[in-house]
């Protein structure tokens, strides 16, 4: 069996294990075993992939495997990875692992909760390893559907409304995707669904590309929080339980950016070049608009959701610049945003679990009460505002430098506008830290609260180590994703 197929297979096995599990202890042990296996496997995959590359494997996709699944439509189950997908798989494995520990304290219906959680991971991993458009779409749907139940059942606040809104908006996006995928399939001669082969043929007529590019870009863009299709994000995140927020913002939103890059731009390169300006304007708006909106929010999760709109906007902004540097930056930003937003949501969940409020007006002086969580929150905040030494800086600087390489007034102007987000980000992050962590605690109820427990500490520490690791020595990660990015970009430019 191909090593890649293990990634969706393990969560499936975990579901089986959970189904058989009889008590919390067994459920926890199934989850820990499975999540650790995924994490170890992902690390092994990274090392193995680097090893293969070093030994001279220059094929675009490595570890490929393919078999026919449904002949009339040429649907294959075909898998393979390049540096970008390897990086995304590593990210997903880290988030699944830490998400497990972040929901350690969950009490109600944990068996079902974790089963849906695992199904969601099946979709995520399957999406990143797929090379076949249809299989990819199928995994995409698998990742979306459990979200409805996870938020609708285990959520908080206006959970039914949020779950419905999120699902409907994302489903709207995937309806566009399905049309777009079929469009590509038939446009390319209806002989194959394989992404690499379609790209190789490069035979979709321009008039069709013009139609399918915006449709697919918007389809994935909804999940990537593209303005004005981002409004599911604040409500959805605010209602979702901690681990779901982590996985959703940390990984699922990356499906959007990854799909835009791998499908929309790679397969429809001519239209991408012609129409990119429209989306560059939209993403520039996302970047600044999300940051400004975050400045006046009062709910911790809303702040982070808008911050995600801004940071994910930067991902799409960077891939639309269509040069290797900016696109490398986009992948780094996906990793970086995935890690730090997961950290944020984990911490917010932990704070909410203790104080039962996420309203920043009701929180203050947490530093004295829960120093560990507060210090981690500060670190997450600093990563978010792009402090050197943490991952955000590396990603943002690569993006800005890449974007600046496009030498025309339009690109220059949008780059400078996007750069201003570093100041606005500092404003809302420091406002938040100043309000909830510093100062003296005014609520006597909060004085009795305790700091993080071991499982929470584990989740948080792993994320921080990953953020600092990426921030301190970005070279290996940038090398890892280099070739994958170059393949796509050079295909677009030719």
């Amino acid at each position: 069996m191909n090593i890649l197929s293990l990634f969706p297979a393990i969560p499936l096995l975990m579901m089986l294990g959970l189904w058989a599990a009889r008590n919390t202890r067994q459920i926890h042990s199934v989850m820990v075993t499975g999540a650790s296996a995924l994490l170890v496997l992902a690390i092994y995959l990274v090392l193995h992939f680097i090893g293969l590359r070093n030994s001279g494997e220059t094929a675009d996709m490595l570890l490929t495997d393919s078999f026919m699944w449904y002949a009339p439509l040429n649907i294959h189950y075909s898998v393979g990875v390049d540096g970008i997908s390897v990086a995304m798989i590593l990210l997903s494995a880290i988030i699944v692992f830490t998400g497990t520990f972040a929901s350690w304290q969950m009490k109600t219906n944990i068996k079902e909760f974790f089963m849906w959680f695992c199904l969601l991971s099946v979709g995520v991993f399957g999406f990143f390893i797929s090379l076949d458009l249809f299989t990819m779409f199928m995994f995409y749907e698998v990742a979306l559907i459990p979200m409805y139940l996870l938020i609708g059942v285990w959520g908080s606040g206006r959970k039914e409304y949020s779950a419905m809104k999120l699902t409907l908006m994302l489903m709207g996006g995937s309806a566009l995707l399905l049309i777009g995928i079929l469009g590509i399939y038939f446009g390319a001669g209806a002989t194959t669904m394989n992404i690499m082969e379609i790209a190789q043929m490069h035979n979709i007529p321009m008039n069709l590309q013009r139609i399918w590019f915006p449709i697919i870009f918007i389809g994935f863009g909804v999940l990537g929080a593209l303005f004005p299709f981002h409004t599911w994000s604040p409500d959805g995140h605010a209602s979702a339980p901690t681990a779901v927020s982590m996985l959703h913002a940390g990984v699922l939103m990356k499906l959007g950016g990854y799909g835009c890059f791998r499908v929309a731009m790679f397969l429809l390169p001519d239209a991408a070049q012609e129409l990119s300006w429209i989306f560059i304007i939209l993403t520039t708006i996302s970047v600044v608009y999300g940051a400004f909106s975050a400045c006046v929010q009062t709910d911790l999760k809303y702040i982070n959701a808008y911050s995600s709109v801004s940071h994910c906007g930067l991902v799409l902004f960077a891939i639309l610049m269509m040069n290797t540097t900016a696109a490398t930056g986009a992948v780094l930003q996906m990793l970086s945003h995935g890690l730090m937003t997961a950290l944020f949501f984990a911490l917010i969940g932990m704070i909410y679990g203790r104080t039962h409020t996420r309203d920043i007006r009701e929180l203050s002086g947490l530093m004295r009460i829960m120093p560990f969580l507060s210090v981690c929150y500060v670190i997450a905040g600093l990563a978010n505002l792009g402090l050197p030494g943490l991952s955000g800086f590396v990603a943002e600087m690569t993006i800005f430098n890449g974007a600046f390489m496009e030498n025309d007034t339009f690109h220059r102007v949008v780059t400078v506008i996007a750069c201003t987000s570093i100041v606005i980000t500092a404003v809302y992050i420091l406002r938040l830290i100043g309000k909830i962590l510093y100062g003296t605690c005014t609520n006597p109820e909060h004085l009795k609260l305790t700091d993080a427990t071991w499982d929470e500490k584990l989740a948080v520490v792993i994320l921080i180590v990953a953020i600092a690791g990426l921030g301190l020595s970005p070279l290996w990660m940038s090398n890892l994703i280099q070739q994958g990015v170059t393949t796509v970009i050079s295909h677009i430019l030719n």
């Binding site: 409004t231 505002l385 402090l387 800005f400 400078v416 100041v423 420091l430 100062g439 003296t440 970005p474």
Partner: protein, 629 residues
């Protein structure tokens, strides 16, 4: 010179270690570890300086630029990459000595000053972080490395200003400091992007082959970088964060907000000096005007402040203005031909770091003794604190520019450079030098002489600070006494050639007279117990006095812009727009779907009669349709 990696690595490890262990470590142990590391770093810096300068000049008569090590940290594709490295040249070596010395003194001093404070370990961890960042900034081999450490310096400053994080003022001040400098850094970043794109490298000395094309964009790039420098170095109108930054512990003010971090902007201009002179002299002169205005503004404000740390803060802003002016008035790279200002600026940076650190540390001893920053709680302290008194006086004389203290020599060179640029500039700067002498001695008399606050002192007798605090004072006072005689031009000059400092007799005479006049005026107004003259002047010009006391309302303008414009006119409407228009549209779609499905649902009512009517109506319609056709 591979060992130089330790100069950055040791403080970093110390930060990580102290940060991770935190309160598990005894306060004394944490302090000792931090101090030991800084002491080692200082020794390494001195050794580096000795080795570097004793290696001598190369054939062309300059100290060569040595890259001790350099490694690619992050490639951007093409020829652009961020390197991390360690570069030695006269100014970076000079900065290594300044930073490590002041940092070591502050580490020692903090033992006494911060004794018993909650968060002692955290304090030393942050000091280590700052030391590492500042050292990394000055030895940067390229502009992007400088930017990286620039940001790290900013965050250490943020963390240290907000050290007393339960105090409202400290939170606000730390936030303000970070955001104002971040705003300036935006300019810096865009400047770097332009610079990198057009010169195709982040190196300080770009390849001459690209300069032809880059020439037109360089003034813009350098101007934007100067905005970043102006933010860190508190140039008007980006100075507003510095006075508030005094909310941090006083030793931090001495280290970061007087001696080292705030001169980063000056250092940046000096670092880019060859490019400024070669490609953008007009931008360089703009910096001179900005610097001169800042120096004047800050000196005027310093004359009326009542909080001793604020007086010192404005004095710092004013003195940094002097350094920027000195760089800005340079018209060539030859120290004999209009490049004197470069050497003067670096010399003043050096001497100012020592005596301003001394002043802040002295102020720390005083605050420690009377538990307040306000002048009204002081007066007559000379009896209680002899060591602080004498060292403070030395520093005051130095900053006022009295021979033979260090400030005299460096300030004299600056004034000489200004007079060479234009008599007006020279005149203005001399006037500001006089103001400096006046406000410093006003401060001195108000603290150590004049009317004693007997009630307060009876309740709590002021006492001299412990040895750990007075030792740094004495050390820095000694440096201030002798530093003026260092043949500074032999080490640092605008073109690298040895330059012998010679005192311009006429300039020296004028500046001494002005300084003495300033001191005399302050003596006349503030030495006595009653301050009739000062009070009547304040009453006579109450409008001006009030405006200056409120720093000419610049802070209020900022408040207005941030709260009334950015928050109220941009963020709030955007957030509203998002919730009501964008999201409202999505909700509208959902509502329309629901309503129309409700409408359609009405048709499937289940009543046979209704179906019959629809059926009949339909059939009739068809018939009519057929007949018409």
């Amino acid at each position: 010179m591979d060992y130089t990696v330790l100069i950055l690595l040791l403080p970093f490890l110390s930060f990580v270690l102290l940060g991770l262990l935190g309160t598990k470590l005894k306060p004394v142990a944490a302090g000792a570890a931090g101090t030991a590391v800084t002491g080692t770093v200082a020794l390494l810096c001195y050794a580096t300086a000795y080795l570097y300068f004793s290696a001598g000049r190369d054939a062309s008569g300059v100290f060569p630029q040595v890259t001790a090590w350099n490694t690619v940290w992050l490639p951007f594709g093409g020829s652009l990459h961020i390197d991390l490295g360690f570069m030695l040249d006269p100014i970076s070596v000079m900065m290594l000595v300044v930073i490590s010395t002041v940092s070591l003194m502050v580490h020692i001093y903090s033992f006494g000053y911060m004794k018993g404070e909650r968060g002692f370990q955290r304090y030393y961890a942050f000091l280590s972080l700052f030391t590492m960042s500042m050292l990394g900034l000055v030895v940067a081999t390229n502009i992007f490395q400088m930017y990286i450490f620039w940001e790290l310096v900013g965050v250490s400053s943020y963390l240290l200003i907000g050290f007393y994080y339960t105090r409202k003022e400290a939170i606000a001040a730390s936030k303000k400091a970070f955001i104002v400098t971040r705003f300036a850094d935006l300019g810096f970043l865009i400047g770097i992007l332009i610079y990198g794109y057009y010169t195709q490298s982040f190196s300080f000395t770009p390849d001459s082959s690209v300069m032809g094309a880059a020439k037109t964009m360089l003034p813009l790039a350098l101007g934007l970088m100067f905005i970043g420098g102006a933010g860190k170095s508190a140039m008007f109108p980006l100075h507003i964060w510095l006075p508030d930054a005094m909310e941090g512990p006083t030793p931090v003010s001495a280290l970061i907000h007087a001696a080292t971090m705030v001169v980063a902007g000056v250092y940046l201009v000096a670092r880019m000096f060859p490019l400024f002179i070669g490609y953008a002299p007009e931008v360089l002169h703009i910096t001179a005007y900005v610097g001169a205005f800042t120096a004047l503004y800050a000196a005027v404000v310093a004359c009326v402040q009542s909080d001793i740390k604020r007086v010192l803060a404005f004095s710092t802003i004013s003195q940094i203005g002097f350094m920027i002016v000195a760089l800005g008035v340079c018209t060539s790279a030859d120290p004999h031909e209009g490049g004197l200002g470069y050497m003067a600026s670096m010399f003043h940076l050096f001497t100012h770091a020592m005596f301003k650190a001394l002043l802040f540390l002295g102020a720390g001893c005083i605050i420690h003794a009377v538990h307040s920053n306000e002048m009204s709680t002081m007066g007559g302290l000379r009896k209680y604190m002899p060591v602080t008194h004498v060292t403070f006086l030395i520093a005051c004389l130095a900053i006022a520019g009295i021979w033979p203290l260090s400030g005299f020599f460096s300030k004299d060179e600056i004034l000489a450079a200004c007079f060479r640029f234009s008599p007006l500039m020279g005149g203005v700067m001399t006037f500001i030098a006089g103001l400096t002498a006046f406000y410093m001695f006003r401060l001195y008399y108000c603290i150590f002489w004049g009317k004693e606050n007997k009630e307060l002192h009876a309740a709590h007798t002021p006492h001299e600070a412990p040895g750990s605090m007075t030792f740094p004072l004495v050390f820095l006072a000694l440096v201030t006494l002798v530093a003026g005689f260092i043949p500074f031009g032999r080490f640092v000059s605008s073109n690298g050639q040895a330059y012998d400092i010679h005192i311009d007799a006429s300039v020296a005479a004028i500046s001494l007279c002005v300084a003495v006049a300033g001191i005399a005026l302050a003596t006349w107004m503030y030495l006595r117990e009653d301050r009739k003259v000062a009070d009547s002047l304040a009453a006579r010009f109450s409008g001006l006095h009030k405006a200056a006391y409120h720093r000419f309302y610049i802070d209020e303008i900022y408040q207005f812009v941030t709260h009334r414009i950015i928050f109220a006119c941009i963020s709030t409407p955007i957030a509203w727009f998002d919730r009501h228009i964008v999201d409202g549209f999505m909700n509208l779609l959902a509502t329309i779907t629901q309503k129309s499905s409700w409408g359609i649902r009405q048709m499937q009512s289940g009543y046979i009669q209704r179906y019959c009517i629809w059926f009949l109506g339909g059939a009739l319609g068809l018939v009519v349709l057929l007949l018409v056709i």
